[in-house]
Every structure is written in structure tokens, then in C-alpha cells.
Symmetry: C2
Subunit: 115 residues, 2 copies
């Protein structure tokens, strides 16, 4: 595999599986590319939230907007440039603030296979 540039303009967003909120994901690097991680973008509607027990180790980088993440570790608020590291097995609730949010994520291993 060679070096790849990923861009929001290449993202084909789909509703995040297993929930009905306006939360969309777009994997741009996945299992089919032969590497160990999935890389993609997330789009969060204003006030939308999800609760999930992590099947993979996920790193979420905030590009636009703000989100709050609740977990056993308490409540943290994320602004652009902030990162949430969410280890496998942890249960998290993530909610987007006013105006929604855009995120990037890296999961190890591939989250689409771990669901």
C-alpha cells in the first residue's frame, strides 16, 4: 500500500450503524486496504448522541464543533484540536453541541469487522 491523502470532500457519509440519530461516518481506509487501522470522518448533527461499548480502540480527533464524552472516567468536553482516546471495552456516550461537529477517527483493529 502507498501513501494516501484523505479529505472531507472524498467522504461518502452513511448513517452510523445500529442507531437512528443524525450521526454519519465515512471510512476512507479500511480492512480492504490491507493495513491494520480504519481511518475516516464523522459528522454529528446538533444535539445528537450515541452510547456505545467500544469494540475497538478508537481515537477521535475533533475538526469542527464541540462534543461531550461521558464514560467511567467522567465527563470531558472536546473542542477543535482535542482528541478522545476510547479504549476497547469502555462504554461511552458522545453528544454533539450546538451547530453539530465534524471528527476524524482511527480505529485498531477495523471497527467494521469488530461490530
Amino acid at each position: 500500500m502507498k501513501v494516501r491523502k484523505l479529505s472531507l470532500t472524498d467522504a461518502k457519509f452513511e448513517r452510523s450503524p445500529g442507531q437512528e440519530a443524525d450521526i454519519f461516518t465515512a471510512d476512507l481506509i479500511g480492512a480492504g486496504d490491507g493495513g491494520p487501522v480504519t481511518v475516516g470522518y464523522g459528522r454529528w448533527g446538533e444535539g445528537e448522541s450515541l452510547t456505545e461499548t467500544m469494540a475497538v480502540h478508537a481515537t477521535m480527533i475533533v475538526l469542527e464543533g464541540r462534543l461531550t464524552v461521558w464514560s467511567d472516567a467522567g465527563e470531558v468536553e472536546l473542542s477543535p484540536g482535542d482528541i478522545a482516546y476510547m479504549p476497547e471495552g469502555q462504554t461511552v456516550t458522545i453528544r454533539a453541541h450546538e451547530g453539530g461537529a465534524t471528527t476524524a477517527y482511527v480505529t485498531y483493529p477495523h471497527w467494521a469487522e469488530a461490530k
Copy 2:
């Protein structure tokens, strides 16, 4: 391990090993945390560049500024929100444009152990 919030204000930047340019990295999650990936931030001085053969699979997310990445895949220019996925074994040259750049990165496995 529990959920962790990482923030640029928590980053203790050090000069990137093996080079003398004004390129600094700050690992905030590493091998000592027990997970599979290293997560951190990078700071690039204006016009500074490095050439490296990737010892790990690295995902670099641009937070501020612009960078160009040269590799076997050609030349790509990255702006805020863009991501470079750089697989193990690929040789890359990365250069920051005017004003420098700030990036976030996720490596699998831990780059500090793979050097």
C-alpha cells in the same frame, strides 16, 4: 485503561528524534498506557521538512497550516482537516508551508519502540 481526553495544551513538545529541523512531537498516549497505538501532536516550523522511511503505520491529521507530502504515490498537499495515511515501509518527505503547521498523529504499533 479508561477514556482519555488529549489536548494541545497538555503536549510537551520535543524535537523529533534523528533530525535537527524545527519539528517537534509530543506523544500523549504511548506504549506505557497499555494500548496498541501511540497518539500525539506535531508542531512544524515554517518551511521545515523531514524525510523518513516509515517504521510504523502512521495517520497524520492536519489541525493548522499546510504541508506537502512526497512519496512513491506522488505529491499531495494537505490543509486543515486533511489526513495523510503513511503505511509502514513507505519513504516520505514532509514539508510545512508558510506559517508552519500543527498535526495530530496515531501510529500502530508504537513508533517510539519501532525506531
